[in-house]
Amino acid sequence: MAQQIKMHLLVCGGTGCRASESDQIQASLEHELKVHGLENEAKVVTTGCFGFCEKGPIVKVIPDNTFYVQVKPGDAREIVEEHVIKGRKVERLLYTDPENKEHVADSKHMGFYRKQIRIALRNCGFIDPENVDEYLARDGYQALGKVLSEMTPEDAIKIIKDSGLRGRGGGGFPTGLKWEITRKSVAEKKYVVCNADEGDPGAFMDRSILEGDPHVVLEAMAICGFAIGADAGLIYIRAEYPLAIKRLKIAIDQARNYGLLGNDILGTGFNFDIELRYGAGAFVCGEETALIHSMEGSRGEPTFKPPFPSVEGYLGKPTNVNNVETFANIPPIINKGSEWFAAIGTARAKGTKVFALAGKINNVGLIEVPMGTTLREVIFEIGGGIKDGKKFKAVQTGGPSGGCLTEKHLDIPIEYDTLIAAGSMMGSGGMIVMDEDDCMVSVAKYYLDFTVEESCGKCSPCRIGNKRLHEILETITKGQGTMEDLSKLKNLSHVIKDTSLCGLGQTSPNPVLSTMENFWDEYISHVVDKKCTSGVCKSLMRYVIIPENCIGCMACARNCPVNCITGERKQVHFIDQDTCIKCGTCLEKCKFNAIAII
């Protein structure tokens, strides 16, 4: 009897797990299978991201769905000898439920996955992204075939319009409408552009899709090309995503070999091909006009809209720009119909959204939830709550263009409009969670750091205004701020928003405005009381000895790196404020609660 493959060992090959040696895990597993003569019974498959990055590298065993976490190359032998040969799960590598401390044997029972619906990420962590056959086996290129053989471009646009899909890159513009406008622009040449210039700090949604399921983007771009009447596609991707670039190149080659890109696709006479364009990682190039200029070889600077790219874009031709995640939704919508998609989500926002969870949250990772899911569900159920049992303070959505939401916003459903109404925005999907130890003035300053760095400098409100905002925040965190500074901060923020040329400047003051709105008392305590309650702003902190508690053990003085603590044995000690660098070592070393921060 011929041996059959009865087991698949899926190894995460995303950038995160790769950085923790997942490629060596894969090699070790293959080696162990060979040593035990099992290479015809079990197969090792490299997949894209599973999303549960917090506990990577991940190895998932199929068909029993065993989910191994934090696997090391040295664990390969035990997995093969115990699990593959004897069918016994390796207990110590299973995920432990943080609530009841029990091992969770398979991914179906993990709180992290229970509330998720995966459309854009449906193939990530399931197929080998470097093998087009696995994509084809999961309905790959069927949507393209259907559109080319059975539909008119108008039919295809109608399906996308009816589905209610809106741009997932940040703007939230209706995708079908964008396609329709580009279709109606008359020109002998048009372009489809995929915006893969993901730049928000902490965001890795697009990277994971490109690394885990590159063909879905190629297929969607070809569908878009047919719909708008274009034969050329360009993917603008940042050069700092080498793995995504490598997998895209492999995918493009494979698609060409099968005739799914190139001339006369599937015998329908439709021609479409895709090329890559590399960006240098400038945040502003995620803005579509700046992106187009960068692709043309000019400076990555935005220009005034209109004309919109759908009328006059790349090389002056009508250009349809969509983001990676938006494209990843297209083939499933064509295959399953607009009603199917429109039934997911809420009345005003259809489908799902991918979020990258980061910050002080237990389950850092990549998730996809239906629109309308609440922030509470995302942070506390899927995200597993706040690290180290600390108190939730705020969640920052929308990256440097978004804002901070607080406890009182936790139960609002996640939709484009509700987030804007709450003073933040959907953005591309970064979600950074903050706990009680975070100082909101410093958080605002951090985002301004980023914007000042990333402003292209073309318009003065953004170039000069953001710099001034940053300086005022700096003054406040140093304890030198005045009430007048606070009103300047607010005024200037509105001026920058109203007068900047592009989305970068129009949104860059948002972190300042939303933290002022929601955490006004923190600003006040920095300015009036000269205190940072979270203990982040070092200039506002003083470490002092509480004489009643100090027994003169000398532990603080011995460990102080700058020798600023003086005092005899068994005598009350003293901290010299001028020399103190506020490192906190004394507080850590004191066993008698004799050190306080004031």
Partner: protein, 131 residues
């Protein structure tokens, strides 16, 4: 690679390729399928569990029955090896003992296809905590 020249060819190609991913597709929704666990501890392997498992996978495939076949550790019925646990969708699992190839064939034909019970059932005397 030969080029795919039409939607019909693409569909054929998909049918041919999806078999290779079958294992993963099924494990995505295991409760929809018949689940068979083969006891593959030392005592099970010594009495031929591996041959039985290969037989099951091969024959289920040939006879067009969608099932998820996994191996498991010692089920505790060492006297009755090889043992297999069979769970039809929506039903309680049943454990069969002394499963040789002939018995496996009978289980497929009678129990899996028609729900007809066959000789060799071991009364379940424990509850599994992971259910």
């Amino acid at each position: 690679m030969t080029k795919i020249k039409s939607l019909a060819e693409l569909k054929l190609k998909k049918e041919e390729l999806e078999k290779k991913l079958n294992l993963r597709e099924k494990s995505n929704e295991p409760d929809k399928y018949i689940q068979i666990k083969v006891g593959m501890a030392t005592s099970g392997i010594a009495s031929g569990a591996k041959v039985v498992m290969d037989f099951l996978i091969e024959e289920l495939n040939k006879r067009g029955i969608d099932a998820v076949v996994t191996q498991t550790g010692d089920m505790g019925y060492c006297y009755a090896e090889p043992t297999i646990e069979v769970k039809r969708p929506g039903e309680d699992p049943i454990v069969f003992g002394y499963v040789d190839l002939k018995k496996a064939d009978e289980i497929i034909e009678k129990y899996l296809k028609n729900g007809e019970l066959v000789e060799g059932i071991i009364p379940v005397n424990y509850e599994s905590i992971d259910e």
